[in-house]
Protein backbone atom coordinates (compact mmCIF):
# COMPACT_ATOMS: atom_id res chain seq x y z
CA UNK A 1 0.00 0.00 0.00
CA UNK A 2 2.79 2.36 0.87
CA UNK A 3 4.21 1.81 -2.61
CA UNK A 4 0.99 3.07 -4.15
CA UNK A 5 -0.04 5.89 -1.91
CA UNK A 6 2.49 8.66 -2.71
CA UNK A 7 1.91 8.56 -6.45
CA UNK A 8 -1.82 8.93 -6.23
CA UNK A 9 -2.14 11.40 -3.39
CA UNK A 10 0.36 13.88 -4.73
CA UNK A 11 -1.52 14.38 -7.99
CA UNK A 12 -1.57 18.19 -8.00
CA UNK A 13 -5.26 18.68 -8.74
CA UNK A 14 -6.24 16.59 -5.74
CA UNK A 15 -3.88 18.28 -3.38
CA UNK A 16 -5.06 21.65 -4.54
CA UNK A 17 -8.75 21.04 -4.59
CA UNK A 18 -9.64 19.13 -1.44
CA UNK A 19 -8.33 18.09 1.92
CA UNK A 20 -8.90 14.94 3.90
CA UNK A 21 -11.73 15.29 6.45
CA UNK A 22 -11.08 14.86 10.17
CA UNK A 23 -12.62 11.40 10.34
CA UNK A 24 -10.14 10.22 7.72
CA UNK A 25 -7.30 11.41 9.93
CA UNK A 26 -8.89 9.55 12.88
CA UNK A 27 -8.96 6.43 10.70
CA UNK A 28 -5.35 6.90 9.69
CA UNK A 29 -4.49 7.34 13.37
CA UNK A 30 -6.15 4.07 14.41
CA UNK A 31 -4.51 2.16 11.58
CA UNK A 32 -1.20 3.78 12.48
CA UNK A 33 -1.47 2.62 16.10
CA UNK A 34 -2.07 -0.95 14.99
CA UNK A 35 0.72 -0.85 12.43
CA UNK A 36 3.11 0.51 15.05
CA UNK A 37 2.01 -2.17 17.46
CA UNK A 38 2.58 -4.83 14.85
CA UNK A 39 6.02 -3.52 13.92
CA UNK A 40 7.19 -2.84 17.46
CA UNK A 41 5.18 -5.77 18.88
CA UNK A 42 8.09 -7.93 20.07
CA UNK A 43 9.55 -5.00 22.01
CA UNK A 44 6.25 -4.11 23.64
CA UNK A 45 5.08 -7.59 24.50
CA UNK A 46 5.08 -8.09 28.23
CA UNK A 47 5.14 -11.88 27.84
CA UNK A 48 6.06 -14.60 25.40
CA UNK A 49 2.93 -14.99 23.30
CA UNK A 50 3.11 -18.77 23.07
CA UNK A 51 4.35 -19.59 26.57
CA UNK A 52 1.60 -21.15 28.64
CA UNK A 53 0.98 -20.29 32.25
CA UNK A 54 -1.75 -22.60 33.49
CA UNK A 55 -2.14 -21.17 37.02
CA UNK A 56 -3.17 -17.87 35.53
CA UNK A 57 -5.66 -19.16 32.97
CA UNK A 58 -8.97 -17.53 32.18
CA UNK A 59 -8.38 -14.39 34.22
CA UNK A 60 -10.74 -11.51 33.41
CA UNK A 61 -9.37 -8.18 32.06
CA UNK A 62 -7.54 -6.09 34.64
CA UNK A 63 -6.59 -9.05 36.88
CA UNK A 64 -3.44 -8.80 38.91
CA UNK A 65 -1.10 -11.74 38.35
CA UNK A 66 1.02 -13.54 40.94
CA UNK A 67 4.13 -11.50 40.07
CA UNK A 68 2.28 -8.23 40.55
CA UNK A 69 1.82 -7.35 36.88
CA UNK A 70 -1.60 -6.65 35.46
CA UNK A 71 -3.26 -8.59 32.60
CA UNK A 72 -5.09 -5.61 31.12
CA UNK A 73 -7.09 -7.69 28.69
CA UNK A 74 -7.14 -10.87 30.76
CA UNK A 75 -5.63 -14.25 29.94
CA UNK A 76 -6.80 -17.11 27.79
CA UNK A 77 -7.54 -20.73 28.46
CA UNK A 78 -3.86 -21.69 28.77
CA UNK A 79 -2.85 -18.60 30.71
CA UNK A 80 -1.38 -16.52 27.87
CA UNK A 81 -1.72 -12.77 28.24
CA UNK A 82 -4.42 -11.51 25.87
CA UNK A 83 -2.70 -8.21 25.16
CA UNK A 84 0.40 -10.08 24.08
CA UNK A 85 -1.70 -12.40 21.96
CA UNK A 86 -3.42 -9.45 20.31
CA UNK A 87 -0.14 -7.75 19.52
CA UNK A 88 1.26 -10.93 18.07
CA UNK A 89 -1.96 -11.45 16.13
CA UNK A 90 -1.87 -7.95 14.73
CA UNK A 91 1.44 -8.81 13.07
CA UNK A 92 -0.07 -11.72 11.24
CA UNK A 93 -3.38 -10.07 10.44
CA UNK A 94 -1.87 -6.89 9.08
CA UNK A 95 0.84 -8.78 7.23
CA UNK A 96 -1.73 -11.02 5.58
CA UNK A 97 -3.96 -8.07 4.75
CA UNK A 98 -1.19 -5.96 3.25
CA UNK A 99 0.60 -8.77 1.44
CA UNK A 100 -2.63 -10.06 -0.07
CA UNK A 101 -3.67 -6.65 -1.31
CA UNK A 102 -0.20 -5.97 -2.73
CA UNK A 103 -0.03 -9.28 -4.56
CA UNK A 104 -3.66 -9.34 -5.60
CA UNK A 105 -3.46 -5.65 -6.52
CA UNK A 106 -0.34 -6.18 -8.62
CA UNK A 107 -1.89 -9.12 -10.44
CA UNK A 108 -5.12 -7.19 -10.92
CA UNK A 109 -3.22 -4.15 -12.17
CA UNK A 110 -1.40 -6.13 -14.85
CA UNK A 111 -4.47 -8.04 -15.96
CA UNK A 112 -6.69 -4.95 -15.82
CA UNK A 113 -4.27 -2.85 -17.86
CA UNK A 114 -3.82 -5.52 -20.54
CA UNK A 115 -7.52 -6.20 -20.62
CA UNK A 116 -8.65 -2.59 -20.63
CA UNK A 117 -5.99 -1.09 -22.87
CA UNK A 118 -5.58 -3.75 -25.51
CA UNK A 119 -9.15 -5.03 -25.44
CA UNK A 120 -10.03 -7.62 -28.08
CA UNK A 121 -9.91 -11.33 -27.38
CA UNK A 122 -7.54 -10.96 -24.41
CA UNK A 123 -10.09 -8.74 -22.73
CA UNK A 124 -12.89 -11.12 -23.57
CA UNK A 125 -11.08 -14.13 -22.12
CA UNK A 126 -9.82 -12.34 -18.99
CA UNK A 127 -13.11 -10.62 -18.27
CA UNK A 128 -15.18 -13.77 -18.67
CA UNK A 129 -12.76 -15.69 -16.47
CA UNK A 130 -13.05 -12.96 -13.85
CA UNK A 131 -16.83 -13.00 -14.07
CA UNK A 132 -16.88 -16.74 -13.53
CA UNK A 133 -14.68 -16.45 -10.49
CA UNK A 134 -16.80 -13.63 -9.05
CA UNK A 135 -19.92 -15.71 -9.55
CA UNK A 136 -18.37 -18.38 -7.31
CA UNK A 137 -18.57 -17.53 -3.57
CA UNK A 138 -15.10 -16.32 -2.70
CA UNK A 139 -14.99 -17.82 0.80
CA UNK A 140 -15.88 -21.20 -0.67
CA UNK A 141 -13.08 -20.83 -3.19
CA UNK A 142 -10.71 -19.81 -0.40
CA UNK A 143 -11.69 -22.85 1.65
CA UNK A 144 -11.03 -25.03 -1.38
CA UNK A 145 -7.59 -23.60 -2.08
CA UNK A 146 -6.57 -23.35 1.57
CA UNK A 147 -7.63 -26.92 2.09
CA UNK A 148 -5.39 -28.08 -0.76
CA UNK A 149 -2.38 -25.91 0.18
CA UNK A 150 -2.55 -26.48 3.93
CA UNK A 151 -2.25 -23.86 6.67
CA UNK A 152 0.65 -21.37 6.59
CA UNK A 153 0.97 -17.62 6.38
CA UNK A 154 2.31 -17.80 2.82
CA UNK A 155 -0.48 -20.10 1.73
CA UNK A 156 -3.21 -17.95 3.17
CA UNK A 157 -1.79 -14.93 1.35
CA UNK A 158 -1.79 -16.91 -1.89
CA UNK A 159 -5.29 -18.17 -1.22
CA UNK A 160 -6.73 -14.76 -0.49
CA UNK A 161 -4.86 -13.09 -3.36
CA UNK A 162 -6.34 -15.62 -5.77
CA UNK A 163 -9.83 -14.81 -4.54
CA UNK A 164 -9.31 -11.02 -4.65
CA UNK A 165 -7.37 -10.14 -7.80
CA UNK A 166 -10.53 -10.02 -9.92
CA UNK A 167 -11.83 -7.03 -7.98
CA UNK A 168 -8.63 -5.08 -8.62
CA UNK A 169 -8.53 -6.17 -12.24
CA UNK A 170 -12.05 -4.89 -12.82
CA UNK A 171 -11.34 -1.52 -11.23
CA UNK A 172 -8.16 -1.05 -13.25
CA UNK A 173 -9.76 -2.30 -16.44
CA UNK A 174 -12.60 0.17 -16.15
CA UNK A 175 -10.24 3.07 -15.70
CA UNK A 176 -7.81 1.91 -18.40
CA UNK A 177 -10.72 1.48 -20.78
CA UNK A 178 -11.95 5.00 -20.06
CA UNK A 179 -8.50 6.54 -20.37
CA UNK A 180 -7.65 4.64 -23.55
CA UNK A 181 -10.33 6.53 -25.45
CA UNK A 182 -9.39 9.96 -24.12
CA UNK A 183 -8.02 12.36 -26.66
CA UNK A 184 -4.66 12.86 -24.99
CA UNK A 185 -3.95 9.19 -25.57
CA UNK A 186 -4.78 9.69 -29.25
CA UNK A 187 -2.49 12.69 -29.18
CA UNK A 188 0.38 10.55 -27.84
CA UNK A 189 -0.32 7.99 -30.56
CA UNK A 190 -0.12 10.65 -33.23
CA UNK A 191 3.20 11.70 -31.76
CA UNK A 192 4.41 8.17 -32.51
CA UNK A 193 4.44 6.84 -28.95
CA UNK A 194 4.42 3.06 -28.64
CA UNK A 195 2.09 1.02 -26.47
CA UNK A 196 4.58 0.82 -23.61
CA UNK A 197 4.93 4.58 -23.34
CA UNK A 198 1.20 5.17 -23.62
CA UNK A 199 0.49 2.51 -20.99
CA UNK A 200 3.02 3.72 -18.45
CA UNK A 201 2.95 7.45 -19.04
CA UNK A 202 -0.67 8.12 -19.88
CA UNK A 203 -2.93 5.23 -18.89
CA UNK A 204 -1.29 3.91 -15.72
CA UNK A 205 -1.32 7.24 -13.81
CA UNK A 206 -5.10 7.35 -14.19
CA UNK A 207 -5.42 3.88 -12.67
CA UNK A 208 -3.58 4.47 -9.39
CA UNK A 209 -6.31 6.40 -7.69
CA UNK A 210 -9.15 3.90 -8.16
CA UNK A 211 -6.75 1.06 -7.40
CA UNK A 212 -5.76 2.70 -4.13
CA UNK A 213 -9.37 3.17 -3.15
CA UNK A 214 -10.13 -0.47 -3.93
CA UNK A 215 -7.06 -1.51 -1.94
CA UNK A 216 -8.14 0.31 1.21
CA UNK A 217 -11.55 -1.31 1.04
CA UNK A 218 -10.12 -4.74 0.32
CA UNK A 219 -7.46 -4.68 3.03
CA UNK A 220 -10.17 -4.75 5.68
CA UNK A 221 -12.18 -7.42 3.90
CA UNK A 222 -9.08 -9.57 3.49
CA UNK A 223 -8.36 -9.40 7.21
CA UNK A 224 -11.90 -10.53 7.91
CA UNK A 225 -11.48 -13.34 5.41
CA UNK A 226 -8.23 -14.37 7.03
CA UNK A 227 -9.97 -14.44 10.40
CA UNK A 228 -12.76 -16.54 8.92
CA UNK A 229 -10.31 -19.05 7.48
CA UNK A 230 -8.31 -19.18 10.68
CA UNK A 231 -11.53 -19.60 12.61
CA UNK A 232 -12.28 -22.60 10.41
CA UNK A 233 -8.80 -23.94 11.07
CA UNK A 234 -7.74 -23.45 7.43
CA UNK A 235 -5.65 -20.32 7.92
CA UNK A 236 -2.82 -19.67 10.29
CA UNK A 237 -1.24 -22.67 11.98
CA UNK A 238 -2.18 -22.94 15.67
CA UNK A 239 1.34 -22.15 16.91
CA UNK A 240 1.12 -18.65 15.40
CA UNK A 241 -1.23 -16.14 16.91
CA UNK A 242 -3.80 -14.53 14.61
CA UNK A 243 -6.91 -12.64 15.50
CA UNK A 244 -9.10 -15.11 13.68
CA UNK A 245 -7.43 -18.09 15.35
CA UNK A 246 -7.81 -16.46 18.75
CA UNK A 247 -11.49 -15.79 18.20
CA UNK A 248 -11.85 -19.41 17.20
CA UNK A 249 -9.96 -20.63 20.26
CA UNK A 250 -12.17 -18.62 22.58
CA UNK A 251 -15.31 -20.11 21.12
CA UNK A 252 -15.60 -22.79 23.78
CA UNK A 253 -15.24 -20.27 26.58
CA UNK A 254 -17.75 -17.67 25.41
CA UNK A 255 -19.91 -18.40 28.46
CA UNK A 256 -17.16 -18.25 31.06
CA UNK A 257 -14.38 -16.09 29.53
CA UNK A 258 -16.00 -13.79 26.93
CA UNK A 259 -12.87 -11.66 26.54
CA UNK A 260 -10.89 -14.31 24.67
CA UNK A 261 -13.05 -14.05 21.57
CA UNK A 262 -14.20 -10.50 22.07
CA UNK A 263 -10.85 -8.72 22.35
CA UNK A 264 -9.45 -9.80 18.96
CA UNK A 265 -12.87 -9.30 17.40
CA UNK A 266 -12.93 -5.70 18.64
CA UNK A 267 -9.40 -5.13 17.33
CA UNK A 268 -10.37 -6.55 13.95
CA UNK A 269 -13.52 -4.45 13.79
CA UNK A 270 -11.57 -1.31 14.72
CA UNK A 271 -8.92 -1.80 12.04
CA UNK A 272 -11.40 -2.78 9.34
CA UNK A 273 -13.63 0.20 10.11
CA UNK A 274 -10.70 2.60 10.23
CA UNK A 275 -9.31 1.37 6.92
CA UNK A 276 -12.78 1.60 5.44
CA UNK A 277 -13.12 5.21 6.53
CA UNK A 278 -9.75 6.05 5.00
CA UNK A 279 -10.79 4.27 1.82
CA UNK A 280 -14.03 6.23 1.62
CA UNK A 281 -12.15 9.48 2.10
CA UNK A 282 -9.83 8.63 -0.76
CA UNK A 283 -12.77 7.70 -2.94
CA UNK A 284 -14.43 11.03 -2.21
CA UNK A 285 -11.21 12.75 -3.16
CA UNK A 286 -11.08 10.77 -6.37
CA UNK A 287 -14.71 11.27 -7.39
CA UNK A 288 -14.75 14.88 -8.65
CA UNK A 289 -12.23 13.95 -11.30
CA UNK A 290 -13.44 10.46 -11.97
CA UNK A 291 -13.32 11.23 -15.68
CA UNK A 292 -9.52 11.28 -15.66
Amino acid sequence: MSAIAPVAITAPEVRRRRRLPARAWAGIGIVGVFVLAAVLGPLLMPYDPVATDLPHRLLPPGSRLGDGSVAWLGTDQVGRDMLTTLLAGSRVSLLVGTATVLIGGAAGLVVGLVSGYFGGWADTVLSRFGDMQLAFPSILLAILIAGVLGPSVTNIVITLAVTRWVIFARVVRASALATRDLEFVDSARVLGAGSARILFRHVLPSCWQPLLVAATVQIGLVMVAEASLSFLGLGIPPDQASWGATVSAGRDYLGSAWWISTMPAIALAAVVTAVGIVGDAFRDLADPRAQL
Binding site: E13, D123, A188, G192
Partner: protein, 339 residues
Amino acid sequence: MTATAQETEVVLKVSGLEAGYERPGRYGFGRRRVPVVAGIDLAVRAGRTLGIVGESGCGKSTLARAIVGLRPAFAGSIEFAGADLASVPARRRRRMSRDLQMVFQDPYTSLNPRMTVAAVIAEGWRVHPGIVPRDQEDAEVARLLGLVGLRAEHGARHLHELSGGQCQRVSIARALAPRPKLIVCDEAVSALDVSIRAQILNLLGDLQSELGVAYLFISHDLDVVRHIAHDVAVMYLGTIVEHGPAADVFGDPQHPYTRALLSAAPSVRDRPDDGVQEIVLRGEVPSPTAPPTGCRFRTRCYMAAEVCERKVPEPVPRDGLPQSVACHFADSAGTTAPG
Protein backbone atom coordinates in the same frame (compact mmCIF):
# COMPACT_ATOMS: atom_id res chain seq x y z
CA MET B 1 14.88 25.02 -53.00
CA THR B 2 13.08 27.61 -55.06
CA ALA B 3 9.63 28.81 -54.31
CA THR B 4 8.15 27.20 -57.41
CA ALA B 5 9.75 23.85 -56.71
CA GLN B 6 8.39 23.99 -53.20
CA GLU B 7 4.96 24.74 -54.47
CA THR B 8 4.80 21.79 -56.80
CA GLU B 9 6.29 19.27 -54.38
CA VAL B 10 3.55 17.16 -52.84
CA VAL B 11 4.06 16.04 -49.24
CA LEU B 12 0.92 14.03 -48.86
CA LYS B 13 -0.99 12.22 -51.55
CA VAL B 14 -4.13 10.30 -50.70
CA SER B 15 -5.61 8.03 -53.38
CA GLY B 16 -8.83 6.05 -53.30
CA LEU B 17 -8.86 6.02 -49.52
CA GLU B 18 -11.59 4.15 -47.73
CA ALA B 19 -11.48 4.49 -43.96
CA GLY B 20 -13.73 4.30 -40.95
CA TYR B 21 -13.80 2.44 -37.72
CA GLU B 22 -13.88 -1.13 -36.55
CA ARG B 23 -16.42 -2.57 -34.21
CA PRO B 24 -15.85 -5.75 -32.27
CA GLY B 25 -17.59 -8.67 -33.88
CA ARG B 26 -19.97 -10.99 -32.09
CA TYR B 27 -18.92 -12.10 -28.59
CA GLY B 28 -15.91 -9.76 -28.81
CA PHE B 29 -14.17 -11.92 -31.38
CA GLY B 30 -13.15 -10.65 -34.81
CA ARG B 31 -13.85 -7.20 -36.17
CA ARG B 32 -16.49 -5.58 -38.29
CA ARG B 33 -15.45 -2.77 -40.66
CA VAL B 34 -17.62 0.32 -40.84
CA PRO B 35 -16.42 2.63 -43.62
CA VAL B 36 -17.17 6.33 -43.15
CA VAL B 37 -15.22 7.86 -46.03
CA ALA B 38 -14.69 6.30 -49.46
CA GLY B 39 -12.82 7.10 -52.67
CA ILE B 40 -10.90 10.04 -51.20
CA ASP B 41 -8.27 11.59 -53.48
CA LEU B 42 -6.32 14.62 -52.35
CA ALA B 43 -2.86 16.13 -52.25
CA VAL B 44 -1.16 18.55 -49.87
CA ARG B 45 1.69 20.62 -51.27
CA ALA B 46 4.81 21.39 -49.26
CA GLY B 47 4.51 24.55 -47.22
CA ARG B 48 0.89 24.99 -48.29
CA THR B 49 -2.50 24.54 -46.69
CA LEU B 50 -5.23 22.24 -47.89
CA GLY B 51 -8.53 23.08 -46.27
CA ILE B 52 -11.24 20.47 -45.84
CA VAL B 53 -14.75 21.75 -45.23
CA GLY B 54 -17.99 19.96 -44.61
CA GLU B 55 -20.72 19.51 -42.07
CA SER B 56 -20.83 17.06 -39.21
CA GLY B 57 -21.03 13.51 -40.40
CA CYS B 58 -19.24 14.27 -43.67
CA GLY B 59 -16.24 12.25 -42.49
CA LYS B 60 -13.67 15.03 -42.36
CA SER B 61 -12.55 14.05 -38.88
CA THR B 62 -12.38 10.39 -39.84
CA LEU B 63 -10.25 11.37 -42.83
CA ALA B 64 -7.88 13.36 -40.59
CA ARG B 65 -7.64 10.50 -38.15
CA ALA B 66 -7.03 7.95 -40.87
CA ILE B 67 -4.15 10.06 -42.21
CA VAL B 68 -2.43 10.27 -38.82
CA GLY B 69 -3.10 6.60 -38.13
CA LEU B 70 -5.81 6.85 -35.49
CA ARG B 71 -8.37 5.18 -37.74
CA PRO B 72 -7.77 2.18 -39.97
CA ALA B 73 -7.55 2.57 -43.74
CA PHE B 74 -9.51 -0.21 -45.43
CA ALA B 75 -8.48 0.54 -49.01
CA GLY B 76 -6.43 2.99 -51.04
CA SER B 77 -3.11 4.61 -50.21
CA ILE B 78 -1.73 7.47 -48.13
CA GLU B 79 1.62 8.41 -49.68
CA PHE B 80 3.79 10.42 -47.34
CA ALA B 81 7.59 10.88 -47.34
CA GLY B 82 8.12 8.09 -49.86
CA ALA B 83 6.02 5.45 -48.14
CA ASP B 84 2.40 4.34 -48.08
CA LEU B 85 1.20 5.00 -44.55
CA ALA B 86 -1.76 2.73 -45.12
CA SER B 87 0.48 -0.31 -45.49
CA VAL B 88 3.82 0.27 -43.70
CA PRO B 89 4.48 -1.87 -40.62
CA ALA B 90 3.40 -0.32 -37.33
CA ARG B 91 6.93 0.27 -36.05
CA ARG B 92 8.00 2.19 -39.14
CA ARG B 93 4.68 4.01 -39.15
CA ARG B 94 5.43 5.27 -35.65
CA ARG B 95 8.91 6.45 -36.68
CA MET B 96 7.41 8.35 -39.60
CA SER B 97 4.91 10.12 -37.36
CA ARG B 98 7.75 12.48 -36.50
CA ASP B 99 7.07 14.26 -39.78
CA LEU B 100 3.28 14.16 -39.47
CA GLN B 101 1.70 15.82 -36.48
CA MET B 102 -1.78 16.87 -35.42
CA VAL B 103 -3.48 19.66 -33.48
CA PHE B 104 -6.82 18.67 -31.96
CA GLN B 105 -9.92 20.79 -31.37
CA ASP B 106 -9.89 20.83 -27.59
CA PRO B 107 -6.49 21.28 -25.93
CA TYR B 108 -7.92 20.48 -22.50
CA THR B 109 -8.80 16.94 -23.54
CA SER B 110 -6.02 16.33 -26.06
CA LEU B 111 -3.15 17.13 -23.71
CA ASN B 112 -2.47 15.08 -20.59
CA PRO B 113 -3.56 17.21 -17.62
CA ARG B 114 -1.00 15.55 -15.35
CA MET B 115 1.97 16.81 -17.36
CA THR B 116 3.61 20.21 -17.26
CA VAL B 117 3.61 22.34 -20.39
CA ALA B 118 7.32 21.62 -20.90
CA ALA B 119 6.76 17.86 -20.62
CA VAL B 120 3.84 18.08 -23.06
CA ILE B 121 6.06 19.83 -25.60
CA ALA B 122 9.12 17.62 -25.04
CA GLU B 123 7.21 14.35 -25.30
CA GLY B 124 7.99 14.14 -29.01
CA TRP B 125 11.71 14.07 -28.23
CA ARG B 126 11.20 11.21 -25.77
CA VAL B 127 9.39 9.28 -28.48
CA HIS B 128 11.82 10.17 -31.27
CA PRO B 129 15.29 10.41 -29.70
CA GLY B 130 17.96 12.36 -31.50
CA ILE B 131 15.99 15.42 -32.54
CA VAL B 132 17.20 17.62 -29.72
CA PRO B 133 20.12 16.73 -27.42
CA ARG B 134 18.98 16.28 -23.85
CA ASP B 135 21.00 19.18 -22.49
CA GLN B 136 19.47 21.59 -25.00
CA GLU B 137 15.88 20.59 -24.38
CA ASP B 138 15.12 23.37 -21.93
CA ALA B 139 16.39 25.97 -24.35
CA GLU B 140 14.44 24.39 -27.20
CA VAL B 141 11.21 24.29 -25.17
CA ALA B 142 11.74 27.97 -24.37
CA ARG B 143 12.34 28.71 -28.06
CA LEU B 144 9.15 26.87 -29.09
CA LEU B 145 7.14 28.64 -26.40
CA GLY B 146 8.41 31.95 -27.76
CA LEU B 147 7.56 30.86 -31.29
CA VAL B 148 3.91 30.29 -30.35
CA GLY B 149 3.70 33.50 -28.36
CA LEU B 150 4.12 32.19 -24.82
CA ARG B 151 6.85 32.91 -22.29
CA ALA B 152 9.52 30.46 -21.13
CA GLU B 153 8.09 30.40 -17.60
CA HIS B 154 4.85 28.90 -18.96
CA GLY B 155 6.84 25.66 -19.31
CA ALA B 156 6.60 24.89 -15.61
CA ARG B 157 2.83 25.35 -15.47
CA HIS B 158 0.04 22.84 -15.78
CA LEU B 159 -2.63 23.21 -18.43
CA HIS B 160 -5.43 24.10 -16.05
CA GLU B 161 -3.49 27.22 -15.19
CA LEU B 162 -3.67 28.45 -18.78
CA SER B 163 -6.53 29.92 -20.83
CA GLY B 164 -8.05 28.07 -23.78
CA GLY B 165 -6.11 30.11 -26.31
CA GLN B 166 -2.84 29.59 -24.45
CA CYS B 167 -3.49 25.85 -24.26
CA GLN B 168 -4.04 25.74 -28.00
CA ARG B 169 -0.68 27.48 -28.42
CA VAL B 170 0.86 24.70 -26.33
CA SER B 171 -0.78 22.13 -28.65
CA ILE B 172 0.80 23.86 -31.61
CA ALA B 173 4.23 23.94 -29.92
CA ARG B 174 3.89 20.24 -29.15
CA ALA B 175 3.06 19.48 -32.77
CA LEU B 176 6.01 21.58 -33.97
CA ALA B 177 8.52 20.01 -31.56
CA PRO B 178 9.47 17.00 -33.72
CA ARG B 179 9.87 19.42 -36.70
CA PRO B 180 7.18 17.89 -38.91
CA LYS B 181 6.59 18.48 -42.61
CA LEU B 182 2.82 18.38 -42.22
CA ILE B 183 0.45 19.24 -39.40
CA VAL B 184 -3.15 18.07 -39.47
CA CYS B 185 -5.36 20.66 -37.75
CA ASP B 186 -8.72 19.12 -36.84
CA GLU B 187 -11.10 21.99 -35.99
CA ALA B 188 -8.10 23.56 -34.28
CA VAL B 189 -9.69 26.99 -33.84
CA SER B 190 -13.36 26.00 -33.56
CA ALA B 191 -13.55 26.03 -29.77
CA LEU B 192 -12.02 29.49 -29.45
CA ASP B 193 -13.69 32.87 -29.07
CA VAL B 194 -13.60 35.19 -32.09
CA SER B 195 -10.87 37.46 -30.76
CA ILE B 196 -8.63 34.54 -29.77
CA ARG B 197 -9.37 32.62 -32.97
CA ALA B 198 -7.87 35.44 -35.01
CA GLN B 199 -4.70 35.31 -32.91
CA ILE B 200 -4.27 31.58 -33.49
CA LEU B 201 -5.02 31.85 -37.23
CA ASN B 202 -2.36 34.52 -37.56
CA LEU B 203 0.07 32.36 -35.60
CA LEU B 204 -0.53 29.39 -37.91
CA GLY B 205 0.06 31.62 -40.92
CA ASP B 206 3.30 33.04 -39.47
CA LEU B 207 4.62 29.59 -38.59
CA GLN B 208 3.96 28.40 -42.11
CA SER B 209 5.91 31.19 -43.73
CA GLU B 210 8.75 30.87 -41.22
CA LEU B 211 9.08 27.08 -41.05
CA GLY B 212 7.59 25.98 -44.36
CA VAL B 213 5.27 23.49 -42.67
CA ALA B 214 2.22 22.29 -44.60
CA TYR B 215 -1.24 22.10 -43.05
CA LEU B 216 -4.19 19.85 -43.65
CA PHE B 217 -6.74 22.19 -42.12
CA ILE B 218 -10.11 20.72 -41.27
CA SER B 219 -12.99 22.93 -40.26
CA HIS B 220 -16.72 23.37 -40.54
CA ASP B 221 -16.19 27.13 -40.67
CA LEU B 222 -16.03 28.30 -44.27
CA ASP B 223 -14.70 31.76 -43.44
CA VAL B 224 -11.79 30.30 -41.51
CA VAL B 225 -10.89 27.87 -44.29
CA ARG B 226 -11.27 30.55 -46.92
CA HIS B 227 -8.87 32.67 -44.93
CA ILE B 228 -6.12 30.12 -44.33
CA ALA B 229 -6.27 27.57 -47.16
CA HIS B 230 -4.52 27.65 -50.55
CA ASP B 231 -6.45 24.64 -51.78
CA VAL B 232 -9.75 23.34 -50.57
CA ALA B 233 -11.73 20.12 -50.68
CA VAL B 234 -15.45 20.13 -49.92
CA MET B 235 -16.72 16.92 -48.34
CA TYR B 236 -20.22 15.56 -48.19
CA LEU B 237 -21.20 12.27 -46.59
CA GLY B 238 -17.80 10.62 -46.85
CA THR B 239 -16.78 11.79 -50.30
CA ILE B 240 -15.10 14.82 -51.78
CA VAL B 241 -17.54 16.65 -54.02
CA GLU B 242 -15.33 19.53 -55.10
CA HIS B 243 -11.59 20.07 -54.89
CA GLY B 244 -9.33 22.81 -56.19
CA PRO B 245 -7.63 26.14 -55.51
CA ALA B 246 -9.47 27.95 -52.69
CA ALA B 247 -10.04 31.07 -54.76
CA ASP B 248 -11.81 29.06 -57.45
CA VAL B 249 -13.85 26.77 -55.22
CA PHE B 250 -15.08 29.64 -53.09
CA GLY B 251 -15.23 32.19 -55.90
CA ASP B 252 -16.87 30.05 -58.54
CA PRO B 253 -18.37 26.98 -56.88
CA GLN B 254 -19.52 24.29 -59.32
CA HIS B 255 -21.03 21.57 -57.16
CA PRO B 256 -24.59 22.23 -55.97
CA TYR B 257 -23.58 21.32 -52.42
CA THR B 258 -20.69 23.79 -52.38
CA ARG B 259 -23.05 26.44 -53.63
CA ALA B 260 -25.61 25.66 -50.95
CA LEU B 261 -22.96 25.57 -48.24
CA LEU B 262 -21.53 28.91 -49.28
CA SER B 263 -24.90 30.56 -49.48
CA ALA B 264 -25.95 29.16 -46.10
CA ALA B 265 -22.82 30.30 -44.26
CA PRO B 266 -23.63 33.37 -42.22
CA SER B 267 -21.57 36.46 -42.83
CA VAL B 268 -21.35 39.81 -41.08
CA ARG B 269 -22.43 41.35 -44.39
CA ASP B 270 -25.80 39.57 -44.29
CA ARG B 271 -28.90 41.53 -43.29
CA PRO B 272 -32.35 40.17 -42.31
CA ASP B 273 -34.19 41.58 -45.29
CA ASP B 274 -31.48 42.14 -47.86
CA GLY B 275 -33.41 40.10 -50.41
CA VAL B 276 -30.51 37.74 -51.07
CA GLN B 277 -32.04 34.31 -51.39
CA GLU B 278 -29.79 31.71 -49.86
CA ILE B 279 -30.10 28.14 -51.05
CA VAL B 280 -31.74 26.32 -48.18
CA LEU B 281 -31.29 22.60 -48.65
CA ARG B 282 -34.11 20.33 -47.70
CA GLY B 283 -33.66 17.67 -45.05
CA GLU B 284 -30.54 16.69 -43.23
CA VAL B 285 -27.44 14.59 -43.82
CA PRO B 286 -28.26 10.84 -44.14
CA SER B 287 -26.34 8.26 -42.13
CA PRO B 288 -22.73 7.98 -43.37
CA THR B 289 -22.78 4.24 -42.81
CA ALA B 290 -25.76 3.75 -45.12
CA PRO B 291 -25.31 6.40 -47.83
CA PRO B 292 -27.80 6.77 -50.72
CA THR B 293 -27.03 4.97 -53.96
CA GLY B 294 -25.43 6.82 -56.85
CA CYS B 295 -24.61 10.40 -55.95
CA ARG B 296 -24.62 10.67 -52.17
CA PHE B 297 -25.95 14.21 -52.28
CA ARG B 298 -28.97 13.45 -54.43
CA THR B 299 -31.45 13.18 -51.55
CA ARG B 300 -30.94 16.86 -50.71
CA CYS B 301 -29.94 18.20 -54.12
CA TYR B 302 -32.11 20.73 -55.91
CA MET B 303 -30.82 19.47 -59.25
CA ALA B 304 -31.15 15.73 -58.70
CA ALA B 305 -32.32 13.71 -61.69
CA GLU B 306 -32.79 10.07 -62.47
CA VAL B 307 -29.13 9.61 -63.47
CA CYS B 308 -27.98 10.67 -59.98
CA GLU B 309 -29.65 7.66 -58.45
CA ARG B 310 -28.02 5.20 -60.81
CA LYS B 311 -24.52 6.46 -61.26
CA VAL B 312 -21.81 7.68 -58.90
CA PRO B 313 -20.43 10.92 -60.38
CA GLU B 314 -16.66 10.81 -60.91
CA PRO B 315 -14.60 13.77 -59.69
CA VAL B 316 -13.30 15.12 -63.00
CA PRO B 317 -11.83 18.46 -63.97
CA ARG B 318 -14.35 20.31 -66.11
CA ASP B 319 -13.41 22.18 -69.22
CA GLY B 320 -11.59 25.38 -68.42
CA LEU B 321 -11.98 24.96 -64.66
CA PRO B 322 -9.13 24.60 -62.20
CA GLN B 323 -11.20 22.55 -59.76
CA SER B 324 -12.54 19.03 -60.10
CA VAL B 325 -16.21 18.46 -59.42
CA ALA B 326 -18.10 15.26 -58.71
CA CYS B 327 -21.48 16.09 -60.23
CA HIS B 328 -23.36 14.91 -63.31
CA PHE B 329 -24.51 18.46 -63.92
CA ALA B 330 -21.38 20.36 -62.99
CA ASP B 331 -21.40 22.29 -66.25
CA SER B 332 -24.86 23.66 -65.66
CA ALA B 333 -24.82 24.01 -61.87
CA GLY B 334 -23.46 27.48 -62.08
CA THR B 335 -26.28 28.68 -64.24
CA THR B 336 -29.29 26.86 -62.88
CA ALA B 337 -31.08 28.50 -60.01
CA PRO B 338 -32.27 26.22 -57.24
CA GLY B 339 -35.87 25.16 -57.65
